[in-house]
């Protein structure tokens, strides 16, 4: 840990070491089937999600207890978000967006625990999520509208002369979507956790230690906020992309 600097020096080496994929048992190379810390935390994310949504609502009481009302609030928030942004016909895809939201939310929050591994800090993980959204949404668009889905790139409200230029821009922005969708989440997580570690490394110098510890506390609170906002943004952008697929004409 960067904070364990006994000799009063700065130890920045471990700032990015928290994102290393390591074997859980034994030593040796990491193969695709090796149980790693990623496997462990992915499993814990599923356990936490199930604990909130299945175990938390086991009473099914009319007057919900604390865990049930938390689950209901989460469900209601995502449901309203899908309905507001994607429209009524977007509600068919609510389970997918709810799954994405819960996964990213718990990945971000569990990653904030000390010594934890942040699964969403890896572009491999967020990239799979973002590209699956991209392919799903594109498939929905083509299945629902056929060739009319391409109206998304042909802005009819614009003058005819600038429509080809706009079409090029729209196509580029459409294909950049999965990249920005995944890098936004991974980048936010890497940056936030690295900043906490950098402040923690300054705690090794006695003169600035109180300031740096306060800064760690402040950044930690901010990161808890960011963890929620990024999960929310990830889900909301999925809704926006879904809306474009369901209603391609501008």
């Amino acid at each position: 840990m960067a904070t364990e600097a006994g000799d009063g020096g700065l130890h920045f080496d471990s700032v990015l070491s928290q994102f290393e994929v390591k074997r859980l048992f034994g030593t040796g190379p990491v193969e695709w089937y090796t149980p790693t810390n990623v496997t462990l935390w992915l499993f814990l994310i599923i356990v936490a999600t199930a604990a909130l949504l299945i175990w938390g609502t086991r009473g099914r009481s009319m007057v919900p207890n604390r865990s049930q009302s938390m689950a209901e609030l989460t469900y209601g928030m995502v449901h309203k978000m899908v309905e507001d942004i994607s429209g009524k016909d977007g509600l068919k895809y609510f389970p997918y967006i709810m799954t994405l939201f819960m996964f990213v939310l718990f990945a971000n929050f569990l990653g904030l625990l000390p010594k934890a591994f942040t699964v969403t800090s890896h572009i491999a993980v967020t990239g799979v999520l973002a590209f699956s959204v991209f392919f799903t949404v594109t498939a929905i668009g083509f299945i629902k509208h056929g060739a009319h889905f391409l109206d998304l790139f042909w802005v009819r409200s614009a003058p005819l002369a600038i429509r080809p230029v706009l079409a090029v821009i729209e196509v580029i922005s459409y294909f950049v979507r999965p990249v920005s969708h995944s890098i936004r989440l991974a980048g936010n997580m890497i940056a936030g956790h690295a900043v906490i570690k950098v402040f923690a490394a300054f705690a090794g110098i006695a003169a600035v230690a109180p300031v740096s510890i306060l800064a760690v506390v402040g950044m930690y609170a901010f990161e808890a906020l960011v963890a929620f906002i990024q999960a929310y943004v990830f889900a909301i952008l999925t809704c926006v992309y879904l809306k474009d697929a369901l209603h391609p004409s501008h």
């Binding site: 936004r184 980048g187 890497i190 940056a191 929310y232 943004v233 909301i236």
Partner: protein, 78 residues
């Protein structure tokens, strides 16, 4: 003082990517400031627009994150 000139350029480049963060800061500040200005003029309409606020912030912020990504690539991938 000895060193590799390529490494020097690499570190200067990493430092320059921090300028991108300033651009993202201006963008996010613009979104939040304009939202607040609009929300204070018509508070009853503000609650319905928080989703738009977050979408706008996410788009503005993503470009700052891209500069951070360039910095990481320069540091570790080049």
């Amino acid at each position: 003082m000895e060193g590799n000139i390529g490494e020097l350029g690499q570190y200067i480049g990493v430092g320059l990517t921090a300028i991108g963060m300033g651009g993202a800061a201006i963008g996010v500040g613009n979104v939040a400031g304009n939202f607040l200005a609009g929300a204070l003029r018509n508070p009853s309409a503000a609650a319905g627009q928080t989703a738009t606020l977050f979408i706008g912030m996410a788009f503005a912020e993503a470009l700052g994150i891209f500069s951070f990504l360039v910095a990481l690539l320069l540091m570790f991938a080049v």
